[in-house]
Amino acid sequence: MTADEQLTLYYWMQLTRAFDERMLAHWKQGRGVGGTFSQRGHEAISVGAAAALGPGDVVSPMHRDLGAFLLRGLTPREIFANLLGRETGPTRGRDANLHGMSALDRGIIGYISHLPHSLPVALGVAMSFRYRDEPKVAMAFTGDGATNTGLYHEVLNMAGLYNAPLVVIVENNQYAYSTPCRQASKVEIISGHAAGYGLQTTAVDGNDVEQVHAAACAAVQRARAGGGPSLIEANTLRMLGHAVHDGAEYVPRELLAAWEARDPVSCYRRKLAAAPATTDRLDDIERRCRQEVEDAVAFAEASPWPDPSTVTRGVYAVAQEPPEG
C-alpha cells in the first residue's frame, strides 16, 4: 500500500471520527433530532471494507458505517441534513438519523432497523449483477447480534447456493445493545458457520484498517472473478452506547480501557506518523475534516424543513408524479 493510499484511508477514518464527535456534541447540546448512533470503534471496518469496492459496485451499510456512506459518495452535508430531518437529506426527512440513506445513483442502499434485512437485499443486488452478466459486487454489513436470526442463515445458504458475488461484513462489536455475544450464542467464532454454507470466511482485527482492507480486497476480487461469496468477521468493541441515550454502564470499564488503547483512528495516525514528513499531512487532513464537518452542520441547520403539505408524497412510485418542492 502506498503512502497516498494510506493517507486516503486515514482521511476517511478521520472524517468519520470528526463527524461523529461533532454529531455527539450537537446532541449533547440538545440540538439533535430524535436519537443517533455513535460510530466510535467502527471506523476502520466501514472504511477499510468499503474502500475495496470499485465503480458500479453496491454497498449496503448499517448504522455504524458512516465511513462507508461517506466513502461511497454521500456528502457530510447530506448526512447531517438527514440527521436533522431536513429536506436536503437523502430521505427528505422521511427516515431517521443514519437509517434509510440510500443513494441508488451512487450504489448505496440505506438500511432499516431490522438487522440483518439488508443482507437479502444485497444478495438480490448481487443476483441482479449475475443476471445481467455484470462484473460487479455487492457488499453488505451487519452486526454480531443479527447473526442469531434465521434470516442471516437463509441468506448465507442462498449466497453459497447461487455462488453470488456478495461480500458480507459482520461487525462483531461484542454487544447487541446491552447483551454480550456470549449471552446470545454458544458460537465463539461467528465466521465459523458461514464456512459451512460454502462462503470463504476470515476473521480480522476490526481496529486495523489495513487488515480489514486487505481482507475486503481479496473478497471483492474473488466475487468479481466469479469465485463466489465471502464473509469477513471484523472484531472490535462498540466504544459508546447503543445510541446517544445509552450510557452503556453494562460494559466493563476495563474492557473499554483496553480497547481505547487500540483506538483505530489514533493507532493508525501513530503508525503513519512514524514515517518522516507525514505529520504535516496528517494535521492537514484533520483540519480539512473538521472544516468539512463544520460546513456540513452549517448547511444542515440552514436547510429547510420538509414542507408538511408534502407528507403524503412519495409513498408510491408514480411515473408522472411531479418533482417535489
Binding site: 440513506m101 432499516i112 437479502p120 443476483m127 443476471y131 434470516l151 409513498v315 412510485a317
Partner: protein
C-alpha cells in the same frame, strides 16, 4: 365449470371464443410478460423444471426461459423475498411465488418493513410482484386456506389485487408486473381449475385501482372480490328469479380501493352487502363500510351489512369449513334480508 362472463362479456371477447381456466390465465400472463420484458424473472419454491410449482402455474417456463429466469429457491420465504427487493431496486422485475398465501407471513417482515417503505424513505422503486395462492373451500385446513389480504391493505406503500375471473387474473397480473411498486397478487385457489372464461389473447392489462360492475340491478349492491365474486353472482341470479335485482361490484383491486365505484353503486341502490372470504374483523369489508358511512350516509336505506369468514382459524373438516366461509346460499339469504329491510 362455471362461465365467468356472468353474461357480461365484451363483444370482442365473445367473438374470439377463446376461453382459459383461471390458472391458465395466470400462466399466460407470466409467459407473455417474460417474452416481452427481459427484466421479468420468477422466484419461488419448486417452480422450476418439469414440476412447475405446487399448482403447476410455472410449468414449462424454465424450459422456455431457462434457470436464469426461473429460479428455484430453498424454503426461505423471508430470504428470497428480500432478495427480490434487491433485484427490484436494481431495476429487475421479479415475480415471487409464495407456495401458499398462508406462508407469506414468513416473508412479512421484509415486505412491510423494507419493500413497502423504500420509495417513501428514499425514492427507491421496488417493482416486484408476490403471487399468493389464497382462499379455501378445498378442505386444506388452517395453514393452506387463508386470506391474509387485510395485513397488506393496511401497509402503506403496497398495492393489493385479487382477481375473480380468468380475464382479470391475466390482466391484473400483467398490470402488477408492469407497476413500479410492490404488488401483492392474491390468486384464488378454488377458482384455478373450476372457472373458465374468455381471456383476450395477447396484450391484456386491467388497470390497478379500478373496480368492475359485473351485474347491474337496482335492489341492492353486493360488493366483493376474489373467489366470492362467483358466489355473489350465483346468489344474484337466484334472487333475480324472485324479482330482487342485485348490482355486483367486483373490487378487483383492494389497495388502492376504487372509492368512486363503491360510492357510485351505493348511490344507485342504497343498500349494500359486502362479501369476502377473509375473516370479518378489521377486514376489507370494514374499510368499505366505513367509506360508505363517511361519504354516502345520506344515500343509505339500510345499514351496510357484511358477510365474511368467521373470526376463527380456517377449520378443516367440511361441515366446519362450510360453517366458516360465505357461499352463494349464505349470500342469497343475507341479500334477501337486506332487500326487505
Amino acid at each position: 365449470m362455471i362461465d365467468s362472463t356472468f353474461g357480461f362479456a365484451g363483444a370482442d371477447e365473445a367473438a374470439s371464443g377463446r376461453e382459459l381456466t383461471y390458472i391458465a390465465a395466470i400462466s399466460e400472463a407470466l409467459r407473455e410478460e417474460m417474452r416481452r420484458d427481459p427484466r421479468v424473472l420468477l422466484l419461488g419454491e419448486d417452480i422450476g423444471g418439469d414440476f412447475g410449482g405446487a399448482f403447476k402455474v410455472t410449468r414449462g417456463l424454465e424450459a422456455e426461459f431457462g434457470a436464469r429466469r426461473v429460479i428455484n429457491t430453498p424454503i426461505a420465504e423471508l430470504g428470497f423475498t428480500g432478495m427480490a427487493t434487491g433485484m427490484a431496486l436494481m431495476g429487475l422485475r421479479p415475480v415471487v411465488e409464495m407456495q401458499f398465501a398462508d406462508f407469506i407471513s414468513c416473508a412479512f417482515d421484509s415486505i412491510v418493513q423494507f419493500a413497502a417503505t423504500a420509495h417513501y424513505r428514499h425514492l427507491g422503486a421496488v417493482p416486484w410482484v408476490v403471487r399468493a395462492p389464497s382462499d379455501g373451500g378445498l378442505r386444506s385446513g388452517p395453514f393452506h386456506s387463508q386470506n391474509p389480504e387485510a395485513w397488506f391493505v393496511h401497509t402503506p406503500g403496497l398495492k393489493v389485487v385479487a382477481p375473480g375471473t380468468p380475464a382479470d387474473a391475466k390482466g391484473l397480473l400483467t398490470a402488477a408486473i408492469r407497476d413500479d411498486n410492490p404488488v401483492i397478487y392474491f390468486e384464488s385457489k378454488p377458482l384455478y381449475r373450476t372457472m373458465k372464461g374468455p381471456v383476450p389473447a395477447g396484450e391484456h392489462v386491467v388497470p390497478i385501482g379500478k373496480g368492475h360492475v359485473v351485474r347491474h340491478g337496482g335492489s341492492l349492491s353486493i360488493i366483493t372480490y376474489g373467489a366470492q365474486l362467483r358466489e355473489a353472482v350465483a346468489a344474484a341470479e337466484r334472487l333475480a328469479t324472485e324479482g330482487v335485482e342485485c348490482e355486483v361490484l367486483d373490487l378487483r383491486t383492494l389497495k388502492p380501493l376504487d372509492t368512486e365505484a363503491i360510492l357510485s353503486t351505493v348511490r344507485r341502490t342504497s343498500r349494500v352487502l359486502v362479501v369476502h372470504s377473509a375473516n370479518q374483523l378489521a377486514g376489507v369489508g370494514a374499510e368499505v363500510a366505513a367509506l360508505i358511512a363517511e361519504h354516502a350516509f345520506e344515500c343509505l336505506d339500510a345499514p351496510v351489512m357484511r358477510l365474511a369468514g368467521l373470526d376463527t382459524p380456517v377449520p378443516f373438516s367440511p361441515p366446519l369449513e362450510d360453517a366458516y366461509r360465505p357461499n352463494a346460499a349464505k349470500i342469497y339469504e343475507a341479500a334477501k334480508a337486506l332487500a326487505r329491510y
